[in-house]
Symmetry: C2
Subunit: 341 residues, 2 copies
């Protein structure tokens, strides 16, 4: 059976690397949404807890409930709840309308649109939002934003940071006026923290860097991270090809000599995105070549080993698919077994 | 919350279309592997049962167990079992070695490699395989193959068919010699049956055509099928953009005039493969344009409707991603709610 191996030492190395910027694990919130970027929600939550992380970020209430025993503080990014929930949950407010959909005494984090123009209230709506949150008896425990270009070498990151700094000041003034406690501020994601000399926010939200990747390619800021997930497939059968034999759908690979080829139990139905010869050649870490197209449930390699590591780093796959490492990882089916080693 | 709507009338229409070729629902085995090609294993299994289908094809024992109450006959394609299992299960043998891994009295289907060169024994191994199956006290209930090019307009399909016809004759001779009952023969998939004047096999395995797609593009054989799945997303928030405002990661979409834009709760983390402006423009069935890149948990459209149908046919998405409809469908996360309408 195919499996995903999670390298605990690499995960801890990545958290160490992040912590060197912060010197305080309480300032790290690990992002565990989308099945911990495909790594396995429970497995990564347990590892983060073992490391001493106290804060997590998820997308849904269901995810928060699954890991509630492992963290003191869980931010839910994209689901409101109109019944009472754990006092350790903090629900993101993405629009003024959301304020009406949350039951009183719930902790909320107000999202501000500082330039991404997706979720969040506008800067102009800030005072109204905080007033309405207070009136609805919600606890404003956080104010946050998200940067659209922290991995792009341009001034956009600094422009959004300036916007957020202005918001912080305004929030402080409004909270004083309404006699509210000051909320936590957070804005930085993985690329963001490595671009900052000093982190002023109360905590940071770290997703992809925990898993060993950082798509910014600025030599000055590039952290030394180690990929956490490897995908291992098991042999289904071996065929001895004659020169000229062709493999798989459309017969796109042709053997240039007599050779052995084996099928392995990973396909695009498992979320290993479909590669074809049009994407370019894919070679596994041990040097085996992918032959022909990836099928729904299997792929062929020029070996007959019982188990093969299909990847231990997804950067090259992301390049072949012209996408980002995030997509290669989050696509991995939750049905594949995860093993911590 | 986002959901996948399954159109029951369309599903039944597709089964009707297939049945017109066969005039016998007992000759149809519906392929339900990989979460019923992303549609939802249980939902599609129930619909197939309601239509009167008796045979199903899955990948794993676990899938077979989940739907065992709904079918008389379930073929498991890619997992052997060395303990006794339901007498309604039939386990595929993909290599001579598999014969040793199956407990006696189990029903088995022997897979023959007629030219795909992936799983299956060779034509030369046929007699040995049947002899060993008989000696291991397994019940040989089926012999089958898979065509690598039934959706390609070439002679390859007919070459593999000829190979399989020769195998049928040889199996008959061997079974007579060993006093074994004649197994069921099957070879055709969705594209295959629409290319045949007459179906000689005992049953056919229909996957993608049940779901409304058939990637062969031969006008003569192209069946009139109707897509079963639609993806519907819910609005998270609305932003009023000024001319010149940019949206999302990298700010790749720029508003050419003041306009409303909303985020919806579908992203590549849900298995809606990541589209960027580099793929070309994507427009929803109702005419809304995707703005900027698809994020992990959301995407932006130029509307403020509460619910939007993201697709009701994946052909255009498959073209934009330079892939096949199968991948677009099977990628859809099992976490999204499925609703039959």
């Amino acid at each position: 059976m195919a499996k995903i191996i999670l390298n605990k030492l690499n995960y801890f190395h990545n958290l160490d690397t992040i912590n060197q910027k912060l010197n305080n694990t309480d300032k790290i919130a690990v992002v565990l949404k989308d099945n911990a970027y495909g790594h396995g929600l429970m497995q990564i939550a347990k590892l983060a807890n073992e490391y001493g992380i106290k804060k997590a970020v998820v997308r849904t209430i269901k995810e928060a409930e699954e890991i509630s025993h492992l963290f003191d503080y869980i931010l839910v990014l994209a689901e409101t709840i109109n019944q009472s929930c754990s006092h350790t949950f903090h629900i993101a407010i993405n629009s003024l309308q959301d304020i009406n959909n949350i039951c009183k005494n719930t902790n909320v984090h107000l999202k501000i649109d500082t330039g991404m123009h997706r979720n969040g209230i506008t800067i102009e709506e800030l005072e109204e939002a905080i007033y309405r949150i207070s009136k609805a008896n919600l606890n404003l425990t956080g104010v946050f934003t998200h940067y659209r270009s922290s991995d792009v070498l341009s001034s956009e990151f600094f422009w959004q940071q300036t916007n957020f700094n202005n918001i912080k000041n305004e929030v402080k003034t409004i909270c004083e006026k309404l006699s509210l406690s000051l909320p936590h501020f957070h804005s930085l994601n993985s690329s963001g923290i490595f671009r900052c000399e000093k982190v002023d926010d109360d905590f940071v939200r770290i997703g992809i860097a925990c898993y060993g990747y950082c798509d910014n390619k600025f030599p000055l800021y590039e952290p030394k991270l180690k990929p956490v997930a490897s995908l291992v497939a098991t042999r289904l059968s071996t065929t001895h090809l004659k020169k000229g034999n062709r493999i798989g759908y459309g017969g796109e690979f042709e053997a240039s000599q007599d050779m052995a080829s084996s099928t392995y139990d990973i396909g695009y139905g498992d979320g290993f995105l479909r590669l074809t010869p049009n994407h370019g050649q894919y070679i596994t870490p041990k040097g085996f070549t992918l032959l022909g197209k990836v099928s729904m449930d299997s792929l062929s390699l020029d070996t007959n080993e019982e188990e093969v590591v299909i990847f231990d780093d997804v950067n090259h796959l992301a390049q072949l698919h012209r996408t980002i490492t995030y997509e290669i990882l989050t696509s991995l089916s939750s049905q594949i077994k995860r093993v911590i080693e």
